[in-house]
């Protein structure tokens, strides 16, 4: 609100073109609602009782339990590794595809590409999971390779539409004048892309990458079917506990991961701020 241009003289002094009635109130409510469950989760990670709902006093026992639980740590590490690679890879691929399908104007087959990119969205996870199990099972038997590659590939594939759509939404409304201006000034296409297009595209890329990361981190069902021996991720580890009762240990793990995220983000902001 603060950075809006000076109001036209006729209107009230406090008028701001970007203020819409009730929007800020809704936004604040949304943020509160988003963090309400998270706050409960964090609080109960310190529960002394073996319950996610009845408070039995303060304790660090679930953090100790999680600290001693090798399986859960390995699963958490594996989740982060896969999510990082898959979100980076899918964002790069999606950016290229978005440039290819919007910057070139209409061409034959554009609709088909668009359809293919959005396929992972339209097929229920369980179906992709079962089909990939069959496909990869055959490949595994042939090649003998059983590493994380299958999971990374599967995750990258279903992350692509999530990265693609925000990037494309950004590209579609982007002003081409700047790029044309750059071309007029004899900038090479590569230079024009790196210095003009990409920075303008960045919010879309960032949004897309974040979505892809979250989607990969969240995936249960495809992972459950594609994983092979010793490849549990945090979600599949928890799916396995579905039949039993979840203990606040999972809260402790989630809280620890959140804490780690916050530390990294703070560091990131401090560094970028200093540089700027």
């Amino acid at each position: 609100m603060a950075e809006t241009p000076p109001p036209p003289p006729v209107r009230r002094r406090t008028f701001s073109a970007t203020t819409l009635p009730g929007f800020a109130a809704v936004a604040v409510t949304v943020f509160v609602a988003l963090y309400l469950p998270i706050a409960t989760l964090v609080v109960f990670s310190f529960n002394a009782a073996n319950s996610m709902s009845d408070w039995g006093g303060f304790s660090l026992r679930w953090y100790e339990a999680a600290w001693a639980n090798r399986a859960v740590q390995e699963a958490a590490g594996r989740s982060l590794l896969i999510a990082t690679i898959a979100s980076l890879a899918s964002t790069v691929l999606a950016t290229l595809a978005a440039l290819g399908t919007t910057r070139q104007g209409p061409f034959r087959g554009r609709m088909a590409i668009w359809g293919a990119i959005n396929t992972p969205l339209m097929v229920p996870e369980i179906v992709t999971g079962v089909a990939l199990l069959i496909l990869f099972g055959t490949v595994r038997a042939w090649t003998g390779y059983q590493g994380l590659g299958y999971l990374v590939l599967a995750h990258t594939a279903f992350c692509i539409p999530f990265a693609y759509l925000p990037i494309r939404a950004r590209l579609e409304r982007m002003d081409r004048l700047l790029e044309l201006a750059a071309a007029d000034l004899y900038a090479s296409p590569r230079r024009a892309f790196l210095r003009i297009t990409l920075p303008l595209l960045m919010p879309g890329v960032l949004a897309g990458a974040m979505l892809a990361f979250v989607i990969s981190l969240d995936d249960v069902i495809i992972t459950e079917f594609v994983k092979s021996a010793g490849q549990d991720t945090l979600p599949t580890y928890m799916l396995g506990q579905f039949r039993r009762t979840l203990t606040p240990e999972v809260n402790a793990i989630a809280t620890a991961l959140l804490g780690l995220t916050l530390v990294l983000l703070t560091a990131f902001f401090l560094i970028t701020r200093r540089r700027g």
């Binding site: 073996n50 092979s228 039949r243 009762t245």
Partner: protein, 342 residues
Amino acid sequence: MRSLRLAAATLALVAGQAAAQDRQLQLYNWGDYTSPELIAKFEAETGIRVTITDYDSNDTALAKVSAGGHGFDLVVPSANYVPIWIEHGLIQELDHSRLPNIVNIAPEWVDVAWDPGRRYTVPWQWGTTGIAVNTSAYDGDINTSDIVFDPPEELRGKINVVPEMADVISMAIMNVGGEPCTEDLEVLRQVRDMLLAAKPHWLSMDYDSEAKLSANDIMAALTWNGPTMRARLNNPPVAYGYPVEGYPIWMDSVALLSDARNVDEAYEFLNFIMEPENAALISNYARYANGITGSEEFMDPEMRDAPEIVIPEEHRAHGVFLPTCPPSATDLYAQIWTELQS
């Protein structure tokens, strides 16, 4: 393409780590079912590194292993699935000379219907499916499946039913006087009508009865004995009923996969878990009985004579081992099950 190169490098790294391990064992088991203490002890005694991978249903495990190239050595299917694993050649016959502790299997668990003479499997844990009731909400007879299928006024709208088709349908069939795996349409019609009439009184169909019983979210459940015992420890009025109409007994057993790569290590593990002291570790963690003679004395005192774990004499006769139903029967059940949840 930098990302691809990055991916390739990471893969190589992970593969390298796996190869560097000397003796290892890949256990494919139900989630949260394997005692970490048991694994730590086994690793300390043998130097074999055990990796556990979880599954959450018999069908997922079966589909995954059938697809091939899975990398697992041991799997823990339920009794009514064992014949399928054997028939499809997915698990191999055990060499009993390498399992001296096999004599520790309690006599009643040796000549079991799904694996006579224990040629393919050794016991992991066993339990029952019954009725849990919070007796502060209802003081009538709890040894009947009518609690769930024709609920008394006090319990209506406060019932959870475990979403396990085989357990629920079998119990319903026995409630109307049929045999498990029946294809008798008259019986099944009664089953369907009864289930459809009962469903409006159910609050949920979810696996987690323990937390809900503990927190008074529900007052009754069709569930397993283990969660009921744990709920009782949190919430004393919770009691476990063994329906006189018949209730399912189940057992999960460990089997050696036909394409296991660490066969020696697998035998060491199978023999290890049939040691009474070690079998007790399994039970103390997951809270079910194990089928190994002499393990009781190493079990937690609260388990040793828990009415949920040790079936009281008068209820033994009503327990039924669920057989492997023919596909035609499963198909009928699946259709009733779908109608129930739509």
